[in-house]
Amino acid sequence: MKIVVCVKQVIDSEAKIQIKDDQLSWGESPMVLNPFDEYAVEAALQLKERYGAEVIVLSIGGPEDTEGLRRAMAMGAESAILISDPAYEHNDQLATSSVIAKAIQKIGSVDVVLFGRQTLDHGSGLTSPQVARMLGIPFLGLAGKIEIDNDRVSIERILEESKLIVSSSIPAVISVVQSIGEPRYPSFMGIRKAAKADIPIWNNDAINGEVPQPKNIHLSYIEPTKKDGKCEMINGNSPIETAQLLVKRVLEAKVL
């Protein structure tokens, strides 16, 4: 079985983002494997242990953006591919998905394509269903469990108000959520192997891509509106009085 896990490297969650002259900066914070994608890598490795599989990680980014791929390799993926081409700089959502779909076609005979639910940075959550639709294969979203039986795959789909068991033929695109289990830590050997790994870079010619006209055009970045004022600590003479004061303040805020 051949599994491709699509991953992205992102700015660490703890980073403070600053905007200056419409450029984003994040200080010294490291780039990390998108936390949502760690679950997808974990899912791939679980499938490999249960059914035997080759696990390939695929990413799109700048020519140096290999940190996320190396982390996934250190966890246990066999190989990695980075798609990078200056022509993709202004790619929007749909354009990026079409590049990923082309690369998956080039890899060939892929049985399962895994994604995290969304990325931490732009977080559209649209990429995996778009890629499935472009490839014309089933999409199984929000999987908390994945099982494979011959040529069918079934997942436990975790929705807000319900859980579904959904199945489809293979190949299929699957997005993975946290319930799959805690992502494993890379082994020391894994880290060494990943650090030395030669990661091929595929450009637009390599995947026979076309550079689509973006339909979404970036205008600007803006700061979020800050909560005005500090936290008002409620401190009455007794717990009952504190509770009464708090209820009074909440009612004054007119949110009930």
């Binding site: 959502q93 998905s97 979203g141 929705l159 807000e160 108000e161 068991i165 946290q178 708090l246 303040r249």
Partner: protein, 328 residues
């Protein structure tokens, strides 16, 4: 501008956030609601009452369960036939799948989770949070048809007004589902986090009742009962930090934060949550935040409007009682 608003039907009927889509559509022209489902026709009247001037619907037994491929093909046929400029979805998991597939079929712009939409010099400009709400991006849409999904509770729902039904256009389902639902279980009924006006969330503190040393399970049970009772008193939903979900005290569907749900209620009450960045990104857009924590240095107070430094096991019963008195 011709604007369509998608009305999502789930096991509880119309997803309430769908009305926010009608509200936004009405700002840019006459809103047309599009409804798919085996009983779609029974939801046309509420759509009119929330401001739709027209309804496009497909009521067919094959649409009983959500199947992204079939729903996308059905809508894309209707879009090709009627050429709306804008199609608005509320930002739910199902709707994002649908919007994504639809954008492929129509080869058009799609932007998810937007918090603002303006018409500037003839073009639509959308604003959406990036980096978990640490920044926002403004994006110009240059596409004849465009698809957006709107962040839950970012746009005001219209006020329901009794009215007669308007024109209804019936369409046929199309496309083939590529997956099969083998089984389904309702996790639980109750107020959903995404549409809740009030959320009371439990954190690790509920496992630390000082009167029940070394009994995390017993403590959590009492703590959760208190959190649920306060949520019930306020007509709200129960949320949780990741620690509580990982500990198996509440199902994943209750998790607020980075890998759970991003919520924006009018009132968010946190009990025993210290406030990791991963939790804070999930609730920082709430209008008013109240936090109860034993630790005066807890980070959660930095994003709270009101705080009580104290034991949730002391304060939750008092708050349940005081809110009850004040609201009845």
């Amino acid at each position: 501008m011709k604007c369509w608003a998608y009305i999502e039907i789930d096991s509880n009927g119309i997803n309430q956030n769908s009305f926010e889509a009608i509200g936004l559509a009405s700002k840019f022209g006459d809103a047309c609601a599009i409804i798919l489902g085996d009983k779609a026709d029974s939801f046309a009247q509420p759509a009119f009452e929330y401001g739709a001037k027209e309804v496009v619907l497909s009521a067919d037994p094959s649409l009983r369960d959500f199947q992204a491929e079939v729903f996308a093909s059905t809508i894309s046929d209707a879009v090709k036939a009627h050429q709306p400029d804008l199609i608005i979805f509320s930002n739910t998991f199902r709707n994002n799948e649908l919007a994504a597939m639809l954008s492929v079929d129509l080869n058009c712009s799609v932007i998810s989770n937007i918090t603002d939409l303006q018409l500037e010099e003839g073009s639509l400009v959308a604003t959406r949070p990036i980096f978990e709400g640490k920044a926002f991006e403004r994006i110009k849409i240059s596409s004849n048809t465009s698809i957006i999904t709107i962040r839950n509770r970012a746009f005001d729902p219209p006020i329901r007004t009794a009215c007669d039904a308007g024109p209804i256009l019936q369409i046929l389902p199309s496309g083939i589902g590529l997956s099969k639902i083998e089984n389904s279980f309702d996790v639980e009924k109750g107020v959903s986090l995404s549409s809740a006006k009030v959320i009371v969330s439990a954190g690790r503190g509920i496992t630390n009742n000082s009167k029940m040393a070394n009994d995390d399970q017993g403590s959590a049970k009492i703590g959760l009962d208190l959190v649920k009772a306060l949520a019930d008193e306020l007509g709200g939903a129960v949320g949780a930090s990741r620690a509580i979900v990982d500990g198996g005290y509440l199902p994943y569907s209750h998790q607020v934060g980075q890998t759970g749900k991003v919520v924006a209620p009018d009132l968010y009450i946190s009990a025993g949550i210290s406030g990791s960045i991963q939790h804070i990104v999930g609730m920082r857009s709430s209008k008013v935040v109240v936090s109860i924590n034993k630790d005066p240095e807890a980070t959660i107070f930095e994003v709270s409007n009101f705080g009580i430094v104290g034991d949730l096991f002391d304060y939750l019963p008092l708050l349940i009682e005081e809110f009850h008195k004040a609201l009845h």
